[in-house]
C-alpha cells in the first residue's frame, strides 16, 4: 500500500507537470484512487481535507471577485501607467509595485488576471511588446505574494496548517525579504528591457488621456465593496489577538460582502473558482494517503539523516529543495506534501525558520518555470489567447535567473535573521 500511495502521488505530480489534462481532474482521480484502493479510509480522507484552507480561499474569492467588479483595480493599474509618463524604467517599477501589492493582499493569481489584460491594452496604446511587462508582472506577483499569509497558495496552506504563525508573523518575517527581492529583480528586468520598452512621447500622451475612474463611476457598490475588502484585511491583522482563524475572517468578510454589495447571491458565488477548490481537495486526500501509510514520516527521517540534525542545513535544504520541487511540478502540490514533512521534522518542538524557508522556497520557486505557479500558467494563457505567446524556454530564460537571485537573497536573509 505504501508503494501504491507513492506511485499515485508521483503519477499525479507527473501528470500535472506534463499538463496531461486539467490539474483538477488529475487531483480528483488520484484522490479517488487512493480511497478506492484502500490506501486511506473514507473517514480519514475526509479528515485529511484542510477545510480552513478551503474556507480562506472561498472567502477571498468572493471578496476579491465582487470588488473586482467595481473597476477599482483597473483604476489603480491605469493610474500607475499614467504616473510613469512613458518612462520605461518607471513603468516597469510601477507595474511591478502594483502587481506585488495586489498579490500580497488579494492573491497572486487574481492579481495577474486583473493586471495582465490591462497591460496588453497599455502595450497596444504605447506600441510596445507586452511580453516584457507581463514577465515583470508574473515575477512580481510571485514575489509579492510571498509577503503575506494570503498572498500565495503555499502561504495560505502553511498559514492554516500552522496555527502558531499569524498573519502579522508572515508580514514581519517575509515582507522585508519579499520587498528587497522585488526591488532587486525588478531592477534587473528594467535594465534588461529598457531598450525594448522605449516609448514614443505621443504614445505616452494617449495613455495620459485615459479616464481611469470611468468604470468606477458606472459600477455598483464601489464604496461598500472597498470597505469590506479593507475591513477584511484589517481583520487578518487582528486575527491572532482576537483568536480567530484567518479562514473565519475571510468567510465573515465574504458574508458581509454578500449582504451589503451583492444583489444576486448566485451570481456572486460564481466568483468562486470551484476547479481550484476541488484541486486542493484532491491534493489533500492524496497527501493524507501518504501520511496514513507513514510515507511522510519516512521522508522526514531521511531528510533529518541528510541534514544531520543541523537546523541551518535543514532550513536551507527546505528552501532550495522547495524551490526546485515547485519549479518542476507546481508549488501547490509540492507544498501540500512538504507541510506534513516539516511538521514531522519538528516533532513536538516549533521552529518558525523551517516554515519561512518552505514559504520562500515554494513562492520564489514559482518563478522558475512557466508551469511552476498558477499565476504563470494564467499569464501565459492570456498571452497565447491574445496572439502573443511566450514559450517555455522564453519564460525560463528570465524566470530561472530571477529565481536564483531570489533564492540567494532568501538564503542570506535566513542565515542572518532566522538561523
Amino acid at each position: 500500500m505504501d508503494v501504491v500511495a507513492v506511485a499515485v502521488f508521483a503519477a499525479a505530480l507527473a501528470a500535472i507537470a506534463l499538463e496531461w489534462t486539467h490539474r483538477t481532474k488529475v487531483a480528483l482521480l488520484g484522490a479517488a484512487a487512493v480511497v478506492l484502493i484502500g490506501v486511506i479510509g473514507e473517514e480519514e480522507a475526509i479528515a485529511a481535507i484542510d477545510w480552513s484552507t478551503l474556507g480562506l480561499l472561498v472567502g477571498m474569492m468572493i471578496i476579491v471577485g465582487l470588488t473586482e467588479r467595481t473597476g477599482v483595480f483597473t483604476y489603480v493599474a491605469l493610474r500607475v501607467a499614467q504616473l510613469s509618463r512613458g518612462r520605461p524604467v518607471s513603468l516597469v517599477f510601477l507595474l511591478a509595485l502594483v502587481t506585488g501589492v495586489m498579490s500580497a493582499f488579494l492573491d497572486n493569481l487574481t492579481a495577474i488576471l486583473l493586471v495582465v489584460p490591462i497591460t496588453l491594452l497599455l502595450a497596444d496604446l504605447l506600441r510596445i511588446s507586452p511580453i516584457p511587462l507581463v514577465l515583470v508582472e508574473v515575477l512580481a506577483s510571485n514575489i509579492g505574494g510571498t509577503a503575506t499569509l494570503i498572498g500565495d497558495p503555499p502561504n495560505i496552506m502553511i498559514g492554516t496548517a500552522v496555527p502558531e504563525l499569524s498573519f502579522l508573523d508572515f508580514i514581519v518575517n517575509l515582507a522585508p525579504v519579499a520587498i528587497f527581492t522585488l526591488v532587486t529583480v525588478t531592477a534587473g528586468l528594467a535594465l534588461l528591457y529598457r531598450r525594448q520598452l522605449a516609448i514614443a512621447p505621443e504614445r505616452a500622451g494617449e495613455v495620459a488621456k485615459l479616464d481611469p475612474a470611468a468604470d468606477m463611476r458606472e459600477a455598483p457598490y464601489v464604496k461598500r465593496s472597498l470597505a469590506v475588502l479593507l475591513g477584511t484585511i484589517v481583520g487578518f491583522f487582528l486575527h491572532a489577538p482576537l483568536h480567530i482563524e484567518p479562514a473565519v475572517v475571510a468567510l465573515a468578510g465574504a458574508t458581509v460582502m454578500l449582504l451589503v454589495a451583492a444583489d444576486d447571491v448566485e451570481n456572486a458565488l460564481e466568483r468562486v473558482e470551484w476547479a481550484t477548490i476541488f484541486f486542493f481537495i484532491g491534493l489533500f486526500v492524496m497527501v493524507g494517503g501518504l501520511e496514513e501509510r507513514g510515507v511522510i514520516d519516512r521522508i522526514a527521517e531521511g531528510f533529518a539523516d541528510l541534514t544531520g540534525g543541523s537546523r541551518s542545513l535543514e532550513a536551507l535544504v527546505i528552501l532550495w529543495g522547495s524551490a526546485l520541487g515547485s519549479a518542476v511540478v507546481d508549488n501547490i502540490p509540492f507544498t501540500a506534501a512538504m507541510i506534513p514533512v516539516v511538521q514531522s521534522l519538528q516533532g513536538d518542538g516549533f521552529d518558525d525558520a523551517a516554515w519561512w524557508a518552505l514559504a520562500l522556497g515554494a513562492c520564489f520557486g514559482g518563478n522558475a518555470t512557466i508551469i511552476a505557479a498558477a499565476a504563470n500558467v494564467a499569464a501565459s494563457g492570456v498571452l497565447a489567447r491574445s496572439g502573443k505567446p511566450i514559450s517555455f524556454f522564453g519564460f525560463l530564460a528570465v524566470g530561472l535567473p530571477a529565481t536564483a537571485v531570489s533564492l540567494l537573497i532568501a538564503t542570506v536573509y535566513l542565515m542572518i535573521f532566522q538561523l
Partner: protein, 159 residues
C-alpha cells in the same frame, strides 16, 4: 402543432473553405446575426455569428478585459487586426453549432433559444444536412402571430 419547417428559414451558409471576409460579407449583406459553416456534404461544422465578427476584428485581448469605459480613442491595433483577419479561414472563427431538426416543434426551438442564448439555430434534416438558419426574431414573431390568432388557427406561413 407548429413545426420548424412551417417557419421561414434563411439559407445562409458558407463553405468551410471560405475566408473570414467572405463569411463577414454574407452576414453583412443579408443583415443576419448568424450563418452556418458547412462542409462538402452540407453538414454543419460551426456557426459564424456577429459575435465572432466582432471578436475577429478586435484586438485579441478584448475578451480578457473586464472594464473598458475608460477608453475614448480608437485602439491602434484595431485597423491592423481588421486587415490581418480578412484572409484567415472562417474555421478559425466559428463557434460550436446549435442545431435543431426541421421536424421538431416550435416550442423545442424556443427552448433551445432560451437555453443557448443564440441569435439563430442551424436547422438540419434527418440525415444531418443543413436546411437553413432559423432566426430568433422569426420564431418569436411566429409564436406571437399564433398566440394572437383569433381562432387559435396556425398562422399563415410567410416568406
Amino acid at each position: 402543432m407548429t413545426t420548424i419547417k412551417d417557419l421561414t428559414l434563411v439559407a445562409a451558409c458558407v463553405d468551410s473553405g471560405a475566408t473570414f471576409e467572405e463569411a463577414a460579407r454574407l452576414l453583412r449583406e443579408n443583415r443576419l446575426a448568424s450563418i452556418a459553416v458547412v462542409d462538402a456534404s452540407r453538414k454543419v461544422v460551426g456557426l459564424f455569428t456577429d459575435e465572432e465578427l466582432l471578436l475577429g476584428i478586435s484586438p485579441r485581448y478584448l475578451d480578457e478585459l473586464r472594464h473598458t469605459a475608460f477608453l475614448e480613442a480608437e485602439l491602434p491595433s484595431l485597423r491592423e487586426r481588421a486587415a490581418q483577419v480578412r484572409q484567415e479561414s472562417v474555421l478559425e472563427h466559428v463557434r460550436k453549432a446549435v442545431t435543431v431538426q426541421q421536424d421538431a416543434s416550435a416550442v423545442h426551438a424556443a427552448e433551445r433559444f432560451v437555453h443557448t442564448d443564440e441569435a439563430a439555430l442551424a436547422v438540419i434534416d434527418a440525415s444531418g444536412r443543413f436546411c437553413g438558419m432559423l432566426e430568433r426574431t422569426e420564431l418569436a414573431h411566429a409564436m406571437l402571430r399564433r398566440l394572437t390568432a383569433p381562432t387559435g388557427e396556425p398562422p399563415d406561413r410567410q416568406s
